[in-house]
Assembly symmetry: C2
Homo-oligomer: 310 residues x 2
């Protein structure tokens, strides 16, 4: 239970809520046309829009079938670039990577709303706070809701039809009020949302009950939780894929090329840095990954597939 | 007199105003310790902060002596990255590239002030307008002054001591009120400012007289004005350098690596695009450039040299 903060929050646990009818009859796999005990997997690329390097790598992985899904950071400099890519590839499974943090040292971003409307979300320089803890301390829920809604609306205005909501660094998990907003917006926009089960334990009873009754729990989230890029990706992911169990699994990857731009974005960050991200890109497109999926009889699915069940 | 708009405004004419005492005695060259008829040249890189590719190329050209000076776009995504570079190289001759336009198709930026404070500078999506004409049509001078001042103050807050002011795409030339603000801020911050003589003709008499009396006119501005990167850079710049005359000359270059990031920033823009900018980078670091400077007996100077005369 170490590393419960920031980027690591999502990596520890391990359960997923889906906005759909809990009809208690068929499993998710059956609803999707698979056997009841099928191992379903979404391979999900985070952080689209962060950098050109990320956009290009993610577009490449979508094209090659290395990933099934991804989500976009609307406040980031390369948002419009990927929105243009999406117009040419409108079937891509792209959700909103709700962004309330700006964690890189020398490459910062603020909200899509005017700073005057969201002062509680911004630091003294007008950028998002670097950590989820600071979001929890400072964020006014009404301002956060306005900003999150504006991110979704901006994506739609630029031509993206989001298939799901998720959250950069788990920032909507900073406090229960934000998680409530997040779930509410998932219903309002009629798309699945994504959150780890551990939040249940910190939540007021009535919210926990709502989640239990209205959201479908699914299965494991897999994400590399390493301090740097020196490990064997094949080995690390191989172990995870062997542990995929029946039901819905989500594997979160962070794709980029190991180039000058990404190196400069992630300076001082070997974890989730440029080399790390290129290893993720190479892995999802590797024969080793394809073979591991096949050997473990894993079925790839998308957020769009799941959203369509409602 | 074609191409008087946007990026091309600066390239047509050809005169430079310096904030200094017009004492009528010594020439600028003499004040700087050169013979009265010395050919002085500032080699100036625009658009620092626009992209990582631009920052890296400009840092490289500063280090190799290929340029003497440059100016930074404070509202752009890579501003902080170069501010950090500046902290390690505080002697660099860096001014403020006042930015009121956002001309690239899919890579946009707005002001450093909250959008609510500068509505007349922003389009419906909250970004700067793409053209100088739109700035002229919409910009409220009071809002423009606040934003320009905020750009200067933000650069200072991040550790940059600006040596001069200049203006991206000539946007402060969009109307006389903006030019007045620009000159006023040059005096207030006690740094030279930069503007083409042609504005004199469109200005009210009293402004024209002020400029004539209080700013020193200098000499030619050289900038490539080509539709794409197919020409011979050596030949084009070679002709310009042969025409450098006694007094102060400014050669404006646009540096970047021809890499994926810069290609994506400048998509659909062969002029001032990635290949163009890499040709500029290669040229300022070439033997051909060094030889042309030597053969034409040109003295390289900086904005800092000139600002120090006051």
């Amino acid at each position: 239970m170490k590393h419960l903060t920031g980027k690591f929050l999502l990596s520890t646990l391990i359960l997923l809520f889906l906005a759909s009818q809990a009809d208690g009859q068929k499993s998710l796999a059956e609803k999707l046309g698979y056997p009841a005990d099928a191992k379903l997997l979404i391979v999900h690329a985070d952080d689209i829009g962060l950098a050109q390097s990320v956009n290009d790598a993610t577009g490449q992985a979508f094209a090659s079938g290395g990933i099934t899904s991804g989500s976009i950071m609307v406040p980031c400099p390369w948002f419009i670039d990927f929105a243009e890519h999406f117009k040419k590839h409108p079937d891509l499974d792209v959700g909103i990577h709700i962004t309330l943090t700006s964690e890189w040292d020398y490459y910062k971003f603020g909200g899509v709303l005017p700073a005057s409307e969201i002062p509680s979300l911004l630091d003294e320089n007008g950028y998002f706070y670097a950590t989820v803890e600071e979001v929890g301390q400072h964020a006014d829920p009404l301002e956060a809701e306005k900003e999150i809604r504006a991110q979704i609306e901006k994506a739609i205005a630029y031509g993206i039809t989001p298939t799901h909501l998720d959250t950069h660094m788990g920032s909507v998990l900073a406090k229960p009020e934000l998680l409530e907003i997040y779930m509410k917006l998932g219903k309002e926009y009629n798309v699945p949302v994504f959150a780890p089960r551990m939040m249940l334990f910190a939540m007021p009873d009535e919210i926990r009950e709502t989640v239990k009754n209205e959201y479908v729990l699914a299965d494991n989230i897999f994400m590399l939780n390493l301090d740097g890029p020196d490990a064997s990706w094949e080995e690390e992911y191989g172990k995870m894929i062997e542990n995929v169990s029946p039901g819905l699994n989500v594997m979160i990857v962070h794709l980029a090329h190991d180039n000058a731009e990404m190196q400069a974005v992630a300076v001082n960050h070997p974890a989730f840095g440029a080399t790390w991200r290129e290893k993720d890109l190479n892995y999802v497109q590797s024969q080793a990954f394809a073979k591991a999926l096949e050997e473990n009889q894993i079925q790839l699915v998308t957020w769009k597939d799941i959203g369509a069940l409602k």
